[in-house]
Structure formats: C-alpha cells, structure tokens
Amino acid sequence: MSFLLECPNCGVREVTDFGFGGEVSARPKQRPSFRELNTYNYFRRNVAGVQREWWFHRSGCRAWFIAERDTTTNEVKFTALPADAPGSDPSGESARVAVESGGDLL
C-alpha cells in the first residue's frame, strides 16, 4: 500500500502518514441486546468495493476524517471532516450512523 490520501486539513500525503480507523460503523443509540452488542463489537462488513472509513492524520494535524475508498483498487473517492462528509447525518452529530447498510448488522 502506498497510495496517496488527502487530509482535509493538510493536503495530499503518503498513506503512511495516516492511521487507519477501520470502516465507519454505527454505535447503538440505545441498549442493544447482547447479540447486537457482539455484532457491533466484532463484525465488520469488509466489503470488496467502496467503503466509508475513518482515517487519522497521525504524522500531521492529528485529526480524524472520513474517506471513501475502493478496497480493491485503493482509489479514494473523497475525504472530508466528519461534519462535511457527503451523506452524513445533517445535524452533524454523528458520522458513524450515516452508513447506508451499517445498520443491517445491528
């Protein structure tokens, strides 16, 4: 892996500048059942294709942001701060709950 990623604050950097925070998933809003809790904690969709991910600019501004990336080609569709990510909760409260099918797991 040596693709480039654009930090919304700092600009384009080597991917080695960043920390990977995994795919965006939804934290339950209310007390989940134990099964739902385990699904949330341990299951990932792991798609071969475009997924929404958390990234952290570890070597730069040290801010978290959202990226949409094709996991098969490493093509990055966009990067944005959580509040600015297209399709995010318009209230800007939680980028985590905005995944299309993330809710399917719960």
Binding site: C10, E14, T16, R58, S59
Partner: protein, 247 residues
C-alpha cells in the same frame, strides 16, 4: 491550580536554565553555548558564525531552534480568526502567516499553533490570554517543550530533506510560507518554508536526538554542517516574510 507548569518561561526562576533535547548532539559537534532568554542555545561553532553562514549558503546548514516559543489555541474557527486578526495575523490551512515575530499556523479549523521568537513567548502568551479571555470555548496552552525544532537552510536543503522526508518541497508545490504538517524522519512533524532556501520544522521533543542524527547523517553526506543561531540570523529569514505581509 492552573497550567503554569506547562510554560517553560513562566516556570523558570532561580537561574534554572532551559535546555534543548539536541544539546548533547550539538555539543558533540563542537557547538558553543550561551544563555539567551533563559535558554542554553548553540549560538556558534568553532569556525564562527560568518564561516558557518558561508558554508550553509554553499550547501546546507542546520540549527537547533527548539527554544522558539510555541503556543496552541483551540476554539471555534471564527474565534481563532478574531484572535489572530487582533494580533495582526491570519490563520489559513496550508499557509503560515508572519506577525509579531511569530509564525501563525492553522493546523485544523479549530486548532492553531503560534511559533514565536523565544524573547516574545511570555508577552505573546499574555496577549493571547487577554484576547481569548471571555471567549467561550477558546483554550490557550503553552506547548513550547512539546516540539523541538530545527531550521535547515541552504541550496542543498531540499536534497537533505529528500533523504528522510516524503513531503513534496518543490517550489511550485511548497512556496515560501507554505505550512506542511506531515511525517519528517518517520515522526510527526510540522514544516514551514520560511524563505527561499530556509525551512523551519518542528518535531516531538523526545525525538530530538534521533532527528538530529537523521539530519546530520543525511546532511553531512551531502556536504552540509550544523550551524549556530548567530549564523542563522545572518541568513535571509522570516523577517522578510513579515515585511511582505505588512506591505
């Protein structure tokens, strides 16, 4: 209680001298030290400032400037803009502005770092504290000793960086005053292109010895040498950027 214990300047009294993490490395390379603004600084090497400046103009030179003051502001974007503007500065992502003997660096929309000459740290901190007093959610933190710092100068500076840094420093991509947070020598860093052939970069205090080794290893192989801050101030520097801004 307050956070005075974070402030290198405010903390010092009774002749306590502040020391850079690169002091031992500079001493081993032949540095001469002098106490300035409470800091033990490597102001020159055996050859003297003139010769050091000449050498740096030929190839590359690096100076320990860890004593530069660093102040962090966090808060809502409009508040940060207001405070900067009251101090005659601007905060923009990707570009540092120079005002009041300081570089004003916006790292994120809500976080800024002000890097200033050591002699103005305390005054600037007081000024920023006044400007942010009463503003809800604005926090001011002195982080002088969070970051060690080095200035790399000379026509060979970019080639020296190329040995340990993946940042694209070509003039078209990184013009003068460009602000580039990113990995330097495999450590988190913040780089400012202060002038044509002059780069200031910040890195973690605890990595000082390591970064000095990495820079010296690359730089000496390319014919560069360490220089003192006396030589540094004789070379074209950030002052010019300040003039440009005010003009």
């Amino acid at each position: 209680m307050n956070l005075d214990f974070l402030s290198a300047g405010a903390a010092a009294a009774d002749g306590a001298v502040a020391r850079s993490p690169m002091e031992a490395k500079a001493r081993a390379a032949g540095a001469r030290f002098d106490i300035r603004d409470g800091w033990n600084v490597a102001h020159a090497f055996a050859e003297g400032a003139e010769e050091e400046a000449r050498a740096a103009t030929r190839t590359a030179g690096w100076a320990d400037v860890s004593h530069l003051g660093k102040l962090e502001l966090q808060g809502p974007p409009d508040q940060l803009d207001r405070i900067a503007s009251e101090c005659g500065a601007e905060l923009r992502l990707g570009e540092a502005s120079r005002a009041g003997e300081a570089w004003w660096c916006r790292l994120t929309t809500t976080r800024a770092l002000v890097v200033c000459e050591a002699r103005v740290t305390d005054a600037l901190r007081a000024q920023l504290a006044d400007a942010s007093a009463g503003a809800e959610q604005v926090t001011l933190t002195e982080v002088t000793t969070n970051f060690a710092a080095m200035t790399l100068v000379g026509p060979g500076a970019r080639e020296v960086f190329a040995r340990f840094c993946a940042l694209d420093l070509r003039p078209a991509v990184t013009p003068v005053r460009a602000l580039r947070p990113g990995s330097i020598a495999r450590q988190p860093g913040i780089l400012i292109r202060e002038a044509e052939d002059r780069y200031l970069f910040l890195f973690g205090w605890a990595t000082g010895e390591y970064v000095w080794s990495a820079v010296a290893d690359a730089g000496e192989h390319l014919g560069g040498r360490p220089i003192g801050i006396d030589a540094l101030s004789a070379l074209p520097g950030p002052a010019r950027a300040e003039e440009t801004l005010s003009a």
